[in-house]
């Protein structure tokens, strides 16, 4: 891409800024590896929050992109774009991390009624189900953003040999606590909701607390480690809330 092009994109060092309707812009990290791009869009979101630009009401940093939503009666695209460009240039390609990472251990019952898509995912990847579980629970997965539904922790996927396709027909209802993967991403679904991601298992732990602000204990940059448990152990964790480990 060159700058600025016919689509209204412009580039400033490490981000491309695109129009996204009359009330939003998208800044995408370009030319950076996944970790640096993620770090940049989150730092950019923090910077924009700190600037407190009139009219801007929401910033949504994800993996490699930042959605900025604003009221176009209170500001305009040019103003928001200018501030984004300026902040991106100021941050440079490698902004420092400001918040320490915490670690969460998440008990999961894999397969069966808890993870009905485990056999299909294993078949697609050409692996035994036990190997899929071993890979999914065998490393710390970094939370990259909070997304749909309802503040779900969206993580880097486990080191599977390839991406996992979404379901051809999404489920009307996914049970809360469902642990799912798609593409090269992993997620826990905190609340009952429709969903098209294959389900590997389910955690008995409560993911959200509606009486807290924010309603999640985790934030981007934290890591999750999935720990296999048996169905018999479900009740040991039921009615507990997700909490960071110490040490």
């Amino acid at each position: 891409m060159s700058s600025p092009d016919a689509d209204g994109a412009d580039m400033n060092g490490n981000v491309t800024i695109l129009d996204c309707g009359d009330s939003a812009l998208v800044a995408k990290a370009v030319g950076l590896d996944a970790e640096a791009g993620w770090r940049l869009v989150h730092a950019l979101a923090d910077a924009l929050d700190a600037v407190g630009l009139t009219g801007v009401h929401d910033v949504v940093p994800t993996y490699d992109a930042l959605l900025v939503e604003f009221d176009c009666t209170g500001t305009d695209h040019d103003t928001v774009r200018r501030v984004l460009s300026h902040e991106a240039a100021r941050l440079g390609p490698h902004p420092a991390r400001t918040k320490p990472a915490r670690r969460f251990v998440v008990p999961v019952v894999y397969g069966g009624e808890y993870g009905p898509d485990l056999p299909e995912v294993a078949a697609h990847l050409g692996m035994a189900e036990s190997d899929v579980v071993a890979l999914h629970s065998g490393s710390d997965l970094t939370v990259r953003c909070l997304g749909a539904p309802a503040g779900a922790p969206m993580m880097d996927g486990p080191p599977f040999p390839g991406p996992v396709p979404r379901l051809a027909s999404p489920r009307v209802r996914v049970d809360p606590g469902s642990v799912a993967v798609a593409g090269r991403q992993a997620v826990i679904c905190p609340m009952p909701s429709p969903g098209g991601w294959p389900l590997l298992g389910r955690t008995p732990v409560r993911v959200l607390d509606l009486h807290r602000d924010p309603i999640t204990a985790y934030r981007p940059g934290d890591t999750f480690r999935f720990a296999p448990i048996t169905p018999d152990e479900w009740d040991d964790y039921a009615d507990t809330s997700l909490a960071a480990c110490h040490g």
Partner: protein
């Protein structure tokens, strides 16, 4: 004892406001009144802060009775509004005496009616808003017999000549056509659809009954993505026109999940989103391409009209010695 508004016929009614703004980063959708324009005007006509709680009445008949004298305003889709059997106008403030039955029936051409009360009423809040979030399970659907606690009463208002309406404030009333024209601008992933992107404007789409406040499903000649490859989940705006696999277009509305993984072909404009909040299943819509400047100008014109209305309401209320709670 607190004054109340008792729901007599519930139909489908929820307590709404303009939504849970500022929580997208935490993964929470904004939600709020599907037709923001009509909702804002209902509150403005009552002299309220435009973010005050109000009722969103969807499709079915509704009735309520206040325990004290109140002033209310009904906006949104055309309907028959009566107070103790007598017809009353929409889009104007309406005085109601204690014990008089307010009925909203025959909602037509659009889907949602908004009813605001001067001073508003008590509501539960979650993360800064009383708007229901169906995924979080927050915000009850009201039932017949439920009572809302009114925050304030309004002195009885009577015109000396009963044939003459008390108010004539000329609120900016939107159109409720049978075929809707919905304005969109190009989406950030327009290029991924090649020439098929034009199909969006070539023929009308029919709104599927599987549509709701999260998104509308549209049937018709859908554009096709011509590129391949995974898309990482990313933030998508309200109004995003997406093309999942299958034969339907998806237009995300205010309850939409904050992140999604489909390419965004177009984005419905702010004024278009209010109109889309009124489209009934089975109705047809035509998309109209707008430039960003056109879309922004239309939105500003609409909001300026609301600001001008707020000034007229303030003047009228001052003249009538109504203690307005104008704000926002």
């Amino acid at each position: 004892m607190a004054d109340t508004l008792t729901i007599r016929t519930a139909g489908i009614v929820t307590v709404q406001d303009l939504g849970r703004v500022g929580r997208s980063r935490h993964g929470l959708p904004v939600n709020g009144a599907a037709d923001q324009h009509s909702a804002r005007i209902a509150n403005v006509l009552c002299g309220n802060d435009e973010r005050a709680p109000l009722l969103e009445i969807t499709a079915l008949d509704f009735a309520c009775v206040p325990s004290s004298d109140i002033l209310l305003a009904v906006t949104g889709a055309p309907a028959d509004v009566t107070v103790d059997g007598g017809s009353r106008p929409q889009w104007e403030p309406v005085p109601v005496r204690a014990g008089e039955a307010v009925r909203v029936t025959g909602i037509r051409r659009g889907l949602r009616v908004y009813l605001a009360v001067l001073g508003s009423f008590e509501a539960d809040y979650l993360q800064g808003s009383c708007a229901p979030d169906t995924i979080l399970g927050f915000g009850p659907v009201l039932r017949s017999g439920d009572e809302l606690v009114l925050r304030t009463a309004c002195p009885p208002l009577d015109h000396p000549f009963s044939r003459i309406p008390l108010f004539r404030l000329h609120a900016p009333v939107p159109r409720f056509p049978t075929t809707w024209t919905i304005d969109v601008t190009d989406g950030p992933d327009r290029a991924e659809f090649g020439d098929t992107g034009r199909r969006l404007f070539d023929a009308p789409f029919t709104v599927s009954p599987r549509s709701n406040h999260i998104g509308l499903r549209l049937q018709g000649e859908v554009p096709r993505r011509v590129t391949r490859g995974e898309i990482l989940s990313r933030g998508v705006p309200i109004g995003a026109v997406e093309v999942p696999a299958g034969d339907e277009l998806l237009v995300l509305h205010r309850g939409r999940g904050v992140t999604a993984g489909y390419p965004v072909l177009a984005v419905v404009t702010a004024t278009g989103l209010s109109a889309l909040g009124q489209v009934r299943p089975g109705q047809t819509i035509r998309f109209r391409h707008r430039t960003l400047d056109q879309a922004v100008t239309a939105h500003r014109t609409q909001r300026n009209a609301i600001d001008a209305l707020r000034t007229r309401v303030r003047t009228a209320f001052d003249a009538l010695r109504i203690r307005a709670q104008v704000g926002g």
